[in-house]
Symmetry: C2
Subunit: 266 residues, 2 copies
C-alpha cells in the first residue's frame, strides 16, 4: 500500500507522474469500457460520509455517473463530464472540481444499444424492459433514459454532521420532490447480482431535468416517450478510501441491512 | 462493451494499441498496488470453468497470485512472475503462457510489512496473527508465508468435462496431499468482507514447496518458522469474461452456497 494515496487536487495525472518513474508500473488507467467506483456501498451504509477523492480526480475515470458528496450533502450526478448536486429541496447546482465524494460510480458513456419507448412505462416496467435487451445480467451497465416523464418522484438528503449516523437513519430525513410532465435524463447503472456490499445490485438512477434545474435520486417515475441508451462494461475498478473512517468501519458480509429501504425510499 | 474483448495471445499490449487510437482512452493499466481478478468466484462456483484470458495476458497485472485453469485442471499459483500448476497428485509443473484461466487473482507483490513467526502456528492462528497486524480489514492484502512447515495439507482437483458440474461437486473428487517438515511458500490473499460473490472473503492460500515440485490449495498447515510478508492494496480491478458460459450463468446474490465447504475442504 502506498504511504499516501497521493490523490491530490492536481488530479490523477499526479499519480501517473509519480508512478511512471523508473522501476514503477503506470498508475491505474481505465479504458472507456470500465466502471470506476470510489469506496463501497457497505461503507456508505455504515456512515462513512467523508471521502478522499475530489470530483476533479474522478473525472479522468468517466463523464457519466452518480454518487453523493462529503457529509452526504445531496445527490450527485455527472452528465457530459459536468458534476451536479441535487440539493435537499430538489434544486440542481453545478459543483466545483475540488468537492470531495465519499461514494461515486462513473464511466465514459458509449451508446452500445438504443431502445425507444413511446408508451407510458413506470420504473419497474422500464427496468424489466431494459433487462430484456441485455446480453447478460452479469455485467455492469450504464443506462441513460432521456425524454419525457409524465411523473418523476425524486429525493435528496440533508447534509449530516459528525458523528455521522447510518445511511438508513440519514435517509429518514430525506425530502421528496414530485414533478409532472417534465423533460430530462435519468442517469443510472445496472449492477450484477454478485456486487452485494460493493455496490447496489440491480438498477440505481438519479434524475436531472433538461434545464438542469431540478432532480435527485429516483424513487419512482412514469416515462412517457424516452430513448434508453445502454453502455455495457466488462471491467470494474474499485478504488478504496485512504481514510480513518473507511479503515475503522465494521463492514459485515453480504448486502448491507436496510439497502433496499434506502434505495427505494420505503 | 467492445464487440470483442480483443484479449489475444499477443497479450494485453494488443488492447493498449487498439484503444489508444485517436479519440480513445488507454486500456486499463494497473499500478503495483492493485489486485487484478478475472471472472468472479460466484461464476466459478456455478461451473464456469472455461475462461478467455491466458496467463500471458494476466502477467501484466501481477507477478504473484493464485487461481485455477481451463476445465478446472488443477490449482494455479504465480510466484516471481512464473505460473505453476498443482496437479491432482500434488505434483507441480510450470505452465506455458498460452494456457487459459477461468478464475485468477494477481498483484505485484511488495513487502509492505514483515512478521517473523518462530513458534508453531496452525492456519487459523496464523490468520489471526496476520489480522492483528493489518491497518484495516477493509482492504485487499496479498500475503506471502515463506519458511518451514511441520505439516502441510493441500488439495488439488481433477480436470472436468462438459457439461461442467458446480465447483462444490467437482471438489468432491479432490485429492489431498499431506506433507511433513517441508520448506516452501504459501501464496495468498486476504479479501475484505464485502466481496462475497466476487471473491473469497478472508484468507485463501495455495502452497508450493521450495523445490517447486509439490503443492496445492492449502486446507491446513502448521508453520514452524516462517516469515510473513504482507502487501496491502487499495485498488481492485475486476475483468469479466466475454464468454457464453459467463453470460448465461445464473449468479445469485451474496456468498455462493457451499463456498466455505469448497475453500476449507469440509
Amino acid at each position: 500500500m502506498p504511504k499516501k494515496l497521493m490523490l491530490t487536487s492536481l488530479g490523477i495525472l499526479a499519480i501517473a507522474v509519480v508512478l511512471t518513474a523508473p522501476g514503477c508500473m503506470p498508475a491505474i488507467r481505465t479504458d472507456r469500457d470500465t466502471v470506476y467506483q470510489t469506496s463501497t456501498i457497505s461503507a456508505l451504509m455504515k456512515g462513512v460520509f467523508d471521502g478522499d477523492m475530489t470530483l476533479g480526480e474522478l473525472r479522468p475515470y468517466g463523464d457519466f455517473g452518480l454518487g453523493t458528496f462529503q457529509a452526504l450533502d445531496g445527490e450527485m450526478l455527472e452528465l457530459d463530464g459536468k458534476f451536479y448536486r441535487a440539493n435537499l429541496d430538489g434544486s440542481i447546482m453545478e459543483v466545483p472540481d475540488h468537492t470531495y465524494t465519499p461514494f461515486a460510480v462513473v464511466t465514459f458513456f458509449d451508446n452500445d444499444m438504443v431502445v425507444d419507448l413511446e408508451q407510458p412505462t413506470d420504473l419497474s416496467q422500464l427496468q424489466l424492459h431494459i433487462d430484456g435487451k441485455l446480453v447478460s445480467p452479469n455485467y455492469f451497465y450504464a443506462v441513460k433514459v432521456k425524454g419525457k416523464f409524465s411523473s418523476m418522484k425524486t429525493r435528496s438528503v440533508p447534509v449530516q454532521v459528525k458523528p455521522y449516523p447510518t445511511l438508513t437513519d440519514a435517509v429518514k430525513n430525506q425530502q421528496v420532490t414530485e414533478l409532472h410532465d417534465v423533460e430530462g435524463t435519468m442517469i443510472g447503472f445496472r449492477c450484477p447480482p454478485y456486487v452485494d456490499g460493493v455496490n447496489v445490485p440491480g438498477y440505481h438512477f438519479h434524475f436531472i431535468d433538461s434545464a438542469r434545474k431540478t432532480g435527485g435520486h429516483v424513487l419512482d417515475c412514469v416515462a412517457s416517450g424516452v430513448r434508453v441508451t445502454i453502455d455495457g462494461t466488462p471491467s470494474f475498478v474499485l478504488g478504496l478510501q485512504d481514510t480513518k473512517g473507511f479503515q475503522r468501519v465494521n463492514l459485515g458480509a453480504g448486502q448491507p441491512e436496510g439497502l433496499q429501504q434506502v434505495e427505494q425510499g420505503k
